[in-house]
Subunit: 150 residues, 2 copies
DNA sequence: AGGCAATCCGACCGTGCTGGTAGGATATGA
DNA sequence: TCATATCCTACCAGCACGGTCGGATTGCCT
């Protein structure tokens, strides 16, 4: 699998926050209930988003989370990266210094043919994540909730 | 990581085969030595490529492997898929019937906002893999072996 | 003041996947 | 018949991942 469940949960969480009116805190519990996700685990997820500066929080009663900036200004690449870390198609992309057998071609950085391939793939992924904003997803979810299942 | 080491090794193996003259078997041992990879493991890797019809083999002494068709006609998407299986950004993409918590939105197939995102990503990946042929990688590796490291 | 509702934090833990090994069976050219 | 190769299956150790738990802290509300 390319993305972890943290990414899935985190994106859903962001969409949920995007649906709320801004500046008004939404509790994690409300989101956990709405999405049917384990609260304790969501805490870890949202912590990453907070550290990345994507959401803000207020503690205490009636506290909660809200988007740090308008959904239109949030590219999904930032969300996913905050959740899953660097988007790397192959081990040698994330830290070249490890020198694991996996990429025995550390020496010939740009000469490794496979690296050409993985670079293209990485470009494809990042491009698609960069051109998708949170606002799009929010709008998508709003549109679809109106349509009855039957 | 997005792709497994099987993908890395398999792609390298294919490039290596692409560098050889066709119809003439190359032994796995030769490739393992050239790339510095464990032979026993390569056997598993190449088995997938064979089952996918990408390479052919001859057993016995002076046996080995060769490309089933010219490198120009091999899209890397087929190679990677043979090695790593279906390219799915998220669990619910590979088998929708599992109904794991991960995608509690099984019912609303096209309504899940995250699915919109993952679909775009998947598209980006597949497109980049489809537009890259093995021949390109082979040519790339040929060009670069001429340039001295110093 | 006290209690409740929240965020925060870190330790823990089972399970499945991944990368890799081992050993042998089978085929084939010299 | 021997060396060289593909082929096949079982096995294993490490580790990342998804998730739980317990508790500390914060702050509104009565």
């Amino acid at each position: 699998m390319i993305f972890s469940s943290k990414a899935e949960y985190g994106v859903r969480l962001m969409v949920e926050l995007g649906r709320q009116s801004p500046e008004q805190p939404t509790s994690l519990k409300a989101i956990a209930d709405a999405e049917g996700l384990p609260l304790a685990y969501l805490e870890q997820v949202v912590a990453r988003l907070r550290k990345a500066g994507l959401v803000m929080s207020a503690r205490g009663a009636h506290g909660g989370y809200w988007l740090a900036r308008p959904a239109e200004e949030i590219a999904m690449v930032d969300v996913v990266q905050a959740l899953d870390g660097v988007i790397a198609p192959m081990e040698c992309f994330v830290h070249d210094h490890t020198e694991r057998v996996l990429c025995s071609h550390v020496a010939d950085a740009g000469r490794c043919a496979t690296k050409l391939l993985w670079t293209r793939v990485q470009g494809g992924i990042i491009r698609s994540l960069q051109t998708t904003t949170l606002a799009e997803l929010v709008e998508f979810s709003r549109r679809n909730e109106l349509v009855p299942t039957a």
